[in-house]
């Protein structure tokens, strides 16, 4: 059996008296592509914020490769090899595309808070950043300020920043939200290629993307996971159809 990389054990989260997450258990396997779907307000983004350390967990335990990362600071979790993207584009707008990627490489290449290395003359650093730009097809946008990119390009850069550090576990929060059909197709291709031999957890609304990309799917409704299974089984699951998918995809 394959190894569990990311494990959520009975996770609860409440904001004041409102309970957003009610006892989520989830085990993500090594190398799998796992999608989390669910209606608006089900708590999908909250779940990501809990895993990545942005929010504090009210109750429960999160383990990354067996080590508890519950309520660690976001930068500590990131250093342990878990990286995430954001639903709303979250890049460094005044810095160039190249600089955005390079920033994500500094810590993994162990530069830490150095103020005695000159970035321009670190060959490995710049080479890696340029390679990554090639990988996300943005080499021709290298020196443009990230804030001036088109929306779809910013989303691609967001993914680039997320994977640049070489984290093993990648969390993508609605990577294709707001994209046209052709842009979505290209984004899916990009995600597929850059997350090869990594573990991917993705929140997504576009069912085409989900069924195309995921090995397994979890359905989150009102803060609880009602099913985790392969795409085909999820499609035919009566509970899921009732709660979320509706009739039109129910072609079993």
């Amino acid at each position: 059996m394959t190894q569990v990389v990311l494990e959520l054990i009975d996770i609860h989260k409440s904001f004041g008296s409102s309970k957003i997450i009610n006892g989520v258990d989830l085990a993500i396997q090594d190398g799998e592509r796992h999608a989390i779907i669910g209606p608006n307000g089900a708590g999908k983004s909250t779940l990501f914020n809990l895993i990545s350390g942005l929010y504090e967990v009210s109750k429960g335990n999160i383990k990354l490769r067996g080590h508890s990362i519950t309520n660690l600071a976001p930068h500590q979790i990131n250093r342990l090899g878990l990286s995430r993207s954001f639903q709303v584009t979250n890049i460094f707008p005044k810095m160039s595309v190249f600089e955005n990627i390079r920033c994500a490489l500094l810590w993994p290449l162990k530069y830490k808070y150095s103020f005695w290395h000159h970035c321009s003359y670190r060959q490995e650093l710049n080479q890696k950043a340029d390679e990554l730009l090639e990988k996300i097809n943005m080499a021709d946008r290298r020196d443009i300020a990230a804030g001036e990119l088109a929306y779809a390009e910013q989303r691609a850069l967001e993914i680039g920043v997320t994977i640049a550090g070489g984290a093993e576990v990648i969390l993508l929060d609605e990577p294709t939200a707001g994209m046209s059909h052709s842009e979505t197709d290209r984004a899916v291709e990009l995600i597929r290629s850059v997350t090869e031999d990594k573990t991917l957890v993705v929140v997504e609304h576009d069912m085409g993307v989900v069924f195309n990309l995921a090995d397994r799917i979890s359905v989150l409704v009102y803060g609880e996971i009602i099913a985790t299974d392969t795409p085909d089984n999820i499609r035919c699951n009566a509970d899921v159809q009732e709660a979320y998918l509706g009739e039109e995809v129910a072609s079993c």
């Binding site: 990131n78 460094f92 500094l106 808070y113 103020f115 710049n126 080499a139």
Partner: protein, 428 residues
Amino acid sequence: MSNIPKKHVTNKWWAALAVWGSAILFLALLPIPFRSGFMLSMLSEIGIMIIFALSYNMLLGQGGLLSFGHAVYFGLGGFITMHALNFVNDGVLPLPLEALPLVGGLGGLFFGIVFGYVSTRRAGTPFALISLGIGELIASSSLMLPSFFGGEEGISGDRMAEITLTPFGFGQQIEVYYLIAFWVLVSTGLMYLLTQTPLGRMANAVRDNPERTPFVGYNTHIVRTIQFSLAAFFAGIAGGLFAINYEIVTAEVVGAIPSANVLMMTYIGGTGFFFGPILGAILITLMELMLSNITHAWVLYYGLMFIAMILWAPGGLASLIMMHKPLWQGRVIGGVLKAYAIMAAPVVILFLGCMILIEINYHLSLSIKPEDPMHIFGIEFYAQSIWPWLVSIVLSIGGLIFFLKSRKIVSRAWKTAGNQLKQKDSGS
């Protein structure tokens, strides 16, 4: 593709060498035309302010930290340097005078680490308010700790120290000027290099988007603390030079006024470019030293300029200059410059009109005997007569009307230049 071509790197080295070489030459030769005592004092003051403003921009421009208390580190650096100087003169501390600003810098660094750690957990309003609080704290404690701050009269020292590295005795202003010029070059070079380091790049990242930086592995608080401490270090060096230059440091130096002053000169110079604060420091120090001899209203002009910058040129002087770079490089700047020349006339008229109005009002309300005649550009007149009022109002209104019209000429010239640039781009 991913390797930086060798030739490119060597070109960069040559460019850097040319910039720094000419800067050294420029500062070395500057006292030849400006050899009077007043000029040398002014150049010295400008040099100190350049270091101070650049260090402030490490916070505001590069780190996104709006501080209202940066003079704390400038002032403490000054006091510490002055104490060190007195220790040297007492024979307790064997340090050459040339190195004393470094003592001020280390003092600034120490307090920068302490107060930086406390205040930089968050940027924005919390940081700004804490910096204001620390500024007030130090300013008020300066009167409570007279042994360190010297009470109301401050502490003074004699810079003609026993130990020096150079043959300079530092009795003459020109020798102090060269000491300051040396530290300006060293500090500016180091501060520029800092922007190119991992810390400098992450300071920019934290400025741009502090929510995202933890997710590339960085603790925003530590990035800010280090950036803040290093800014305080350079402010301390500037303060040390201040102590040596004036041979006296008083409690006013750590107060709110110099803190506001460095903010304003940095902002006017431009926070978006490394060299921006240098322009601001030069311009504001010149205004402070020259305009204040001519008119009491200079602070008003200073304030008006600051407001005008915030409203119409938030990038400061540096961005006003740099926005012409593409036009200059594309060789299509001629039309725009012509339009500026046309605009210059109404601007001067408008300025003259407003200036006469301001000066008349200052004369009426602030001079000892308002009924005495006043002078502007050597012309003598009475503030009570109607003519100066009429002239200034006509000039102001006329200037304003033609200024608004000339703005259209300028924007048309910009459009044409932009189109020419596009054509050239697609042509090549």
